[in-house]
């Protein structure tokens, strides 16, 4: 095993025992980036000099025996999380040269923990997409099959972990953007409860749905990242002032007596048979470990995609009004009229999917349509939340596939936005209800593509999710399989 292949918890042991330095680990990761990046394109911006400086300070701390679990660990950060002095593009032409003057709160926390930043990860423009093909800086390829998408929108964050171009990464999840790419790339991705992690410095897409979370090589690392980034932040008034548990302490192989809910609606028409059989096999494995399976019902989940593609674009159309060519970012040249300058700037600065969603959002909020679309969707959102409340009165966690199919081919769905939206069918309800959700590998298709199992729990019940995920992972070997890229 090379250093770049190891999860953070293993590297931490080696670093603490001074069997390796952060400098060596970071150099090993940077060499892997050099080998892989031409084929994967996981990063928009690489920061090798910054990484080596941070590795040196981490080594100084570790020398004194002061290292924390992330001290000296190389991470990738999705390129919509603001990093002071390092450009933050959101995968968009309109922010192509934007250099934030402050750090997101999660970045401040990771810096204080002594983490090392390898670079900024590729993504669908403004996190709008499920394939990372909507990046202005070009698509990312799936390390398991370079002709396929890595999922999205946190496709760069997922591919960088799967290709060992970093040890772990941060992504953001508005409708599945951490979990679906984690499933496509065969890694672990956790979307925390809405309010668990500060959104300060996260460039806003849909503010009532967005949440930052980790993408990691295994479940133990997800717990470590969660320990580092969770907690109330006065700078984000939607972050919740609750004590943060030690998520690592929740990892237990024992899930005897836990009740796992299987939604009756989860094997919908159009689900890939290989996905269905891998997920059903995972249910059996968990049952053998002593958990009890019960059937539950989420009758309104079939409406979730329609609700989401009203609410998320509505919030986005408002959030993205700030890109007007005045305060920061790109401005169209040669304009002598203010309105024309706004319109040309936004026409040239945004890609097709972002414009489509701004149009959709503006339309559903406009006079005469607000009631029929936005208000209606917000009411159905209530019904979806109530379904979950009822389900969680009967079980500890819910299990579903993460995505209806393994990773699809690059270009396959670019001209059919509705088909692209439907790839989020299992991940979206969780965001609408503000719940935590995790995806972890539960098998492979015959073509060798990873398949993800999704675990959902009630608000602030990440520990239950981690416990089930850890027990499953410790009794299976899917997470140990690596893509063969040589």
């Amino acid at each position: 095993m090379e250093f770049y292949q190891l999860p953070a918890h293993r590297l931490h042991q080696l670093l603490r025992r001074k069997e390796v330095t952060s400098r060596e680990v970071t150099e090993s990761v940077l060499r892997q980036v050099e080998r892989m990046e031409g084929r994967i394109h996981a990063y928009i911006t690489l920061t090798p000099d910054l990484a080596m400086e941070q590795a040196a300070s981490a080594d100084a701390r570790l020398q004194k025996g002061e290292g924390e679990p992330l001290t000296g660990i190389p991470l990738a950060i999705k390129d919509l999380i603001c990093t002071q002095g390092v450009r933050t593009t959101c995968g968009s032409h309109i922010l192509e040269n934007f250099i934030p003057s402050y750090n997101a709160s999660v970045i401040e926390k990771l810096k204080a923990a002594g983490a090392v930043f390898v670079g900024k990860a590729n993504m669908d423009e403004f996190a709008m997409g499920s394939s990372t093909e909507n990046s202005f800086l070009g698509p990312t390829c799936n390390p398991w099959d370079l002709r396929r998408i890595p999922g999205g929108s946190s496709g760069g964050s997922a591919a960088s972990v799967a290709a060992d171009e970093c040890i772990a990464s941060l992504g953001s999840d508005t409708g599945g953007s951490i979990r679906q790419p984690a499933a496509c790339c065969g890694i672990v991705g956790l979307k925390p409860t809405y309010g668990r992690v500060s959104r300060f410095g996260l460039v806003a897409f849909a503010s009532s749905l967005d949440q930052i979370g980790p993408l990691t090589k295994d479940v133990e690392d997800a717990a470590i990242l969660m320990n580092a980034i969770s907690g109330h932040d006065p700078k984000d008034s939607t972050s919740v002032d609750l004590p943060v548990p030690d998520f690592s302490a929740a990892l237990s192989r024992d899930i005897r007596g836990m009740v796992l809910g299987i939604p009756r609606e989860c094997f919908i028409e159009g689900i890939d048979p290989e996905v269905e059989s891998a997920v059903r096999e995972a249910f059996r494995t968990l049952e053998k470990l002593g958990a009890r399976l019960v059937e539950v019902s989420l009758p309104h989940s079939e409406y979730a995609v329609a609700v989401y593609y009203i609410i998320a674009p509505a919030e986005a159309s408002s959030n993205l009004a700030r890109y007007d060519g005045v305060k920061y970012g790109f401005r169209a040249r040669g304009m002598h009229d203010l309105l024309e300058m706004y319109r040309q700037t936004r026409l040239q600065g945004f890609g097709a999917e972002v414009k489509r969603r701004i149009m959709l959002g503006t339309y559903v909020l406009s006079a005469g349509y607000y009631e029929a679309y936005y208000r209606k969707a917000s009411q159905v959102r209530t019904l979806i939340c109530q379904d979950f409340e009822k389900a969680f009165s009967q079980c500890d966690v819910l299990l579903t596939p993460t995505a209806p199919t393994p990773a699809f081919r690059l270009g396959e769905k670019v001209d059919d936005p509705l088909q692209m939206y439907l790839s989020d069918v299992f991940t979206i309800p969780c965001n609408l209800a503000g719940l935590p959700g995790l995806s972890l590998p539960c098998g492979f298709s015959k073509k060798g593509l990873p398949i993800g199992l999704q675990i959902l729990a009630g608000h602030f019940q990440e520990e239950k999710i981690l416990r089930v995920a850890y027990a499953y992972e410790q009794n299976t070997e899917h997470h140990l399989r690596k893509p063969t890229l040589e």
Binding site: S101, S208, Y303, Y328, R343, K355, Y363, Y373, P417
Partner: protein
């Protein structure tokens, strides 16, 4: 047809966007497909259902009105496409 080409033009103005003729055509078709899919929400009776705007209940957050360090004028303007003497510069607004 849920949305006409004229409505697409109107919404584009509201959203401060502008499209070529072929883009207008494409957006009209695509938005219609998506909006037709949204019709399924009409199957549900929601007359007595309260809307949800935030899934995790919260209350308004107040804080003391204290002066704290903030981003300087210089830093605030560093990403502006055009500026002059501490101001943002834009095309002329008043004729």
């Amino acid at each position: 047809m849920k949305i006409t080409r004229e409505e697409v033009e109107h919404v584009a103005l509201l959203a401060r966007l502008k499209f070529s003729e072929s883009e207008k055509e494409r957006f009209t078709t695509q938005l219609n497909t998506i909006l037709e899919y949204m019709d399924k929400l009409g199957q549900l009776d929601t007359t007595r259902v309260e809307p949800t705007f935030h899934a995790v209940s919260g209350s308004n957050v107040f804080r003391e009105d204290l002066v704290k360090p903030s981003i300087s004028q210089e830093l605030s303007l560093q990403n502006a496409p055009d500026g002059d003497n501490g101001f943002f510069r834009v095309p002329k607004i008043i004729e």
